[in-house]
């Protein structure tokens, strides 16, 4: 299952070099994937000699991310992550590490979560940073942060980069972009890096998820790409159990838990699930910091 936005930009993660993307090739891949409608959407994008126009694609991606931000706003992703991040920040303070503590949002896009945290969860000893491999999205995130005088920073880098220093890693709606056979690389990167913990929030797969995603995106999104990719995101989300197993295998120095955002004692399935990880020496401290909410962490018993 492919998303259109994943195919519109081809950037080498190692060098940051951007390669031309051929429109016909993208359309062909989508058609091969059984997505004729998405192929038609791509076929309408402007191209020079068959190569997609970089500037157009960048501006379009900014517009698509603006649309997708509605989802983050309505589902309160900022608050969702802040609630899980709070206990981890409290844990960090007990580790003896000197502050300020750097919280890095991997694949931040236009930086909604980082900006939200900078506005609503600003702390003297915490620094919020967003990274994304797309320079245009990072520029937009910086512009938006400047416009509201928010104390956060954004850099061009990819989620697998080893160049960064982070105390905690976070992401929202990113894991489903990583194919199942590459998830291990992501957690291996966590393992080898300096971060004490991580929180990744993503869609939770269920039988109702594609229908719910279709309803939501049809009602809320205006751009065909945002509508298509939104539904695909829900369809290709990884099962929390797979995330937990992969993290345990590739990041063994972390203890991990799953948090499902669902209304207790109701039949409604949760829309999002989070995987939370903390280095083993600090796991008990983290559980204490979660307090009564630790009961909602699967695997914390």
């Amino acid at each position: 299952m492919l998303e259109i936005t994943d195919l519109l930009v081809d950037i080498d993660p190692a060098s940051g070099r951007r390669y031309p993307v051929h429109r016909a090739e993208v359309a062909h891949r989508l058609r091969d994937d059984g997505e004729a409608r998405a192929a038609r959407v791509v076929g309408r994008l402007p191209a020079n000699d068959g190569v997609l126009d970089d500037e157009f694609v960048d501006r379009l991606l900014i517009s698509v991310h603006g649309e997708i931000q509605r989802l983050s706003e309505e589902f309160r992703h900022g608050d969702r992550i802040a609630c899980l991040l709070g206990p981890l920040i409290a844990t960090l303070r007990t580790t003896g590490r000197p502050g300020p503590y750097r919280i890095v949002d991997l694949g931040c896009g236009t930086g909604y979560v980082v900006r939200w945290l900078a506005r609503h969860a600003a702390m003297d000893d915490v620094e919020y940073v967003g990274v994304d491999y797309n320079a245009a999205l990072v520029d937009e995130a910086r512009r938006l942060a400047r416009a509201e005088h928010l104390p956060c920073r954004f850099f061009v880098s990819d989620a697998f980069s080893s160049g960064g220093q982070a105390d905690l890693l976070i992401s929202s709606g990113v894991l489903h972009h990583v194919p199942a056979d590459h998830l291990g690389d992501l957690f291996a990167h966590h393992e080898s890096g300096p971060a004490v913990g991580f929180v990744h929030v993503d869609f939770q797969p269920s039988a109702l998820a594609p229908i719910g995603a279709w309803l939501f995106h049809r009602a809320r999104m205006r751009l065909a790409i945002a509508r298509f990719d939104g539904v695909q995101s829900a369809r290709r989300a990884h099962a929390p159990s797979l995330l937990g197993e992969t993290a345990a295998r590739h990041a063994p120095s972390f203890r991990t838990w799953i948090h499902r955002g669902r209304v207790r004692h109701t039949p409604f399935p949760g829309v999002f699930a989070s995987i939370i990880g903390v280095r083993h020496p600090f796991a008990e401290t983290a559980i204490s910091a979660f307090g009564r909410r630790a009961r909602q962490l699967e695997g914390a018993a």
């Binding site: 501006r59 309505e74 850099f155």
Partner: protein, 238 residues
């Protein structure tokens, strides 16, 4: 015609206009604080709906005054049938809004997924159904005319504006691409400036599209800043 029934219809249509304004304003700014913007959009849409409502009320009053005896009672019955559908819909929306006051993210998420999303999506169907239910039991031509005057704008205005917004988003992206091409070629012709351009928010430029033919492009000024940043830089350490 009963003034009380008319007042309830007026109130509900005004509320619907305000909600439409809110929906149309959503997703158009990526800033965090948009409450004032959304409030303004809701107020503007509700106000813009007032002349239309007043016009339709005057038309209905005129039709009743000049129409056959009993047309006023038929209008009342039709409006009551309309309210039989519209009031529960509004009540569900208000209940869902009240649900959002519960300090639980999961509850709000369920409200969004199961109530706000589907109700927004099926609103056009509901408008057609409500008007059909109101008019079809007594299909006199003045009632059919008023029903059509409710259905056509009620169903088409929001998708039409949404489509224009989507096209504008794509056109902005295309303008940005044009601007980058202009920045690379160094072309910067003099053309009359709009108010937005005088404020420095946009600029109008032309691009040669073959021979002597030129195409105008409205370009947001921040595009120029981005064009200057080519080639892209890459920070290795964050």
């Amino acid at each position: 015609m009963s003034p009380a029934v008319l007042a309830v219809v007026w109130l509900l249509v005004s509320l619907d206009c305000a909600l439409m304004g809110y929906r149309l304003a959503m997703g158009r700014s990526a800033l965090l604080d948009k409450r004032a913007r959304h409030r303004r959009a809701s107020m503007r849409a509700a106000l813009l709906g007032q002349p239309a409502l007043a016009g339709m009320t005057l038309l209905a009053v005129g039709l009743v005054a000049t129409g056959p005896t009993g047309l006023g009672a038929a209008f009342d019955d039709a409006m009551i049938r309309l309210l039989a559908v519209a009031v529960p819909y509004a009540a569900v929306l208000l209940a869902a809004t009240a649900l959002c006051l519960v300090p639980s993210r999961a509850v709000r998420t369920v409200a969004t997924v199961t109530i706000f999303g589907p109700l927004s999506l099926f609103r056009p169907v509901l408008v057609i159904g409500a008007v059909g239910y109101a008019v079809l039991p007594d299909p006199q031509w003045p009632l059919v005319l008023m029903g059509a005057l409710i259905v056509i704008p009620g169903v088409l205005v929001e998708p039409w504006i949404d489509l224009r917004i989507a096209r504008r988003l794509v056109l902005d992206a295309a303008s940005a691409a044009t601007a980058a091409a202009l920045a690379a070629s160094g072309a910067a012709p003099d053309l009359p400036r709009s108010r937005a351009q005088r404020r420095g928010e946009e600029r109008l430029e032309t691009v040669r599209v073959g021979g002597d033919a030129q195409m105008a492009a409205i370009v947001p000024t921040h595009v120029e800043r981005r064009a200057e940043e080519v080639p892209r830089r890459r920070e290795e350490v964050w």
